[in-house]
Amino acid sequence: MRHFSEEDLIAYQLHESADERAVAKHLESCSECADLSESIAETLRVFSADPVPLPNLEHNWHRLRGNLSVLTPERRGSFELLRWKWAWPSVGLATAALVLLTVFGMRLHRGGELNHNVAVNGHGPLTTEPTDLAIANHLDAAERLLTEVNNSPGSLDDTTREQAHNLLLKNAIYASNARDSGDLAQAAVLENFGRVLTTLDNEPPTPHSTWRLRLEMNTSGLLLDIRILRQNDDHSQGAAQ
């Protein structure tokens, strides 16, 4: 008699078997395979679904909502951006900033790289404090906020300003942590971002103030800084193992 393998019987129990009927028929007459099959079924019962904690929807929605930028048909294509007259100086600034940053930013960051990884740095296991993810999320939020600042044709809406307000305190902490751990490049970028946040938090919302913010604080350049930081961050995490 040809018996079925453990794998065949696992497939059978998971309803992934190619010929379920043949297996079932064999199990009726072969106690050896039936025992094995039952042992597999038992394993599946023992390792059946544990209850999963339910997330708090309200809390999660508020958290998510703070990170959502307004999607508009104009924002979908990058060429559409060129329609707005403010876009032209931004493109110039952005290009200049990109050149500067690839030269200086990355070099600066190299200097702090050894101190950067929290695991290397001895700040304790990430099991209790997912610091890298927190800073990565913060950089994401910063990126989204700056995109909003750079792309809003008029004054910024209340949600964006509220978001800026919320980011302010966290940003100060991350900036100071970066400085403490010797990551001067990250600290500098976060401090610049902090100035943008402070301005947003204090100034009355007018189209003029948004425009001035872009020019005076070079928010396009800052956005690039943050994107580069983000990349370096991912890169150094990859290299740290």
Partner: protein, 199 residues
């Protein structure tokens, strides 16, 4: 994969979001956040990371919404993004903790929950239904590779089709199946010393 038509409410919500109404996204979140978090929990093995992954997945989906083709269901799409995000998160954790115990193994929150599934018949299952058993089960799960664990939990606990698991893991359906089979085989062996009677 299911190609069923998207429900009207979801289609409308997506249209509203794309027209600039961020709050319309809540409709999609209310419908799918729990199932997404659930799957993320199976993959990450802890509540905090599951929520982190679900948040990230919903944010990614939001930002990709302009390019979302509405001929597939939003639920399928968000689930795939979530599985990817959760798997990436686990890999990132394992990388960061390369000299700590792998995070995927420690499930402090799960210990409280698993004790309560103790209402089945006696026998090996009954034996496994106390606190030590919970940690034995966790130890057994910890012996699985992240891929085995993910494939097994999604297939067996969440009943997700093999093809979808394979797509999320970027492997072939056959490899996903093999990962599940290896997982079950390892878990069965882990029960043997406890249950005594198992072959």
């Amino acid at each position: 994969m299911s190609n069923r038509r998207m429900e009207k409410a979801e289609t409308e919500a997506i249209r509203d979001v794309l027209a600039g109404n961020r709050d319309a996204y809540r409709v999609l979140m209310d419908r799918h956040f729990c199932s997404v978090t659930r799957v993320a929990f199976r993959i990450t093995g802890n509540e905090a990371d599951a929520e982190e992954a679900a948040q990230e997945a919903f944010l990614r989906a939001y930002n990709k919404l302009p390019s979302f083709r509405q001929d597939s269901a939003f639920s399928t799409w968000i689930m795939r993004i979530a599985m990817n995000t959760a798997i990436n998160l686990v890999e990132r954790r394992n990388r960061d903790l390369s000299y700590h115990a792998p995070r995927i193994t420690d499930e402090p929150a799960a210990a409280e929950h698993t004790v309560r599934i103790a209402d089945r018949q006696a026998g090996p299952e009954g034996i496994l239904l106390n606190r030590e058993a919970t940690s034995l089960r966790q130890a057994a799960m910890a012996e699985l590779t992240p891929m085995e664990r993910t494939a097994f939990t999604l297939r067996h606990m969440e009943d997700i089709p093999m093809a979808e698991i394979a797509a999320a893991l970027s492997i072939t359906s056959n490899s996903a199946k093999q990962a599940v089979f290896r997982a079950v085989s390892k878990l069965r062996r882990s029960l043997t010393p406890v249950a005594g009677g198992l072959r």
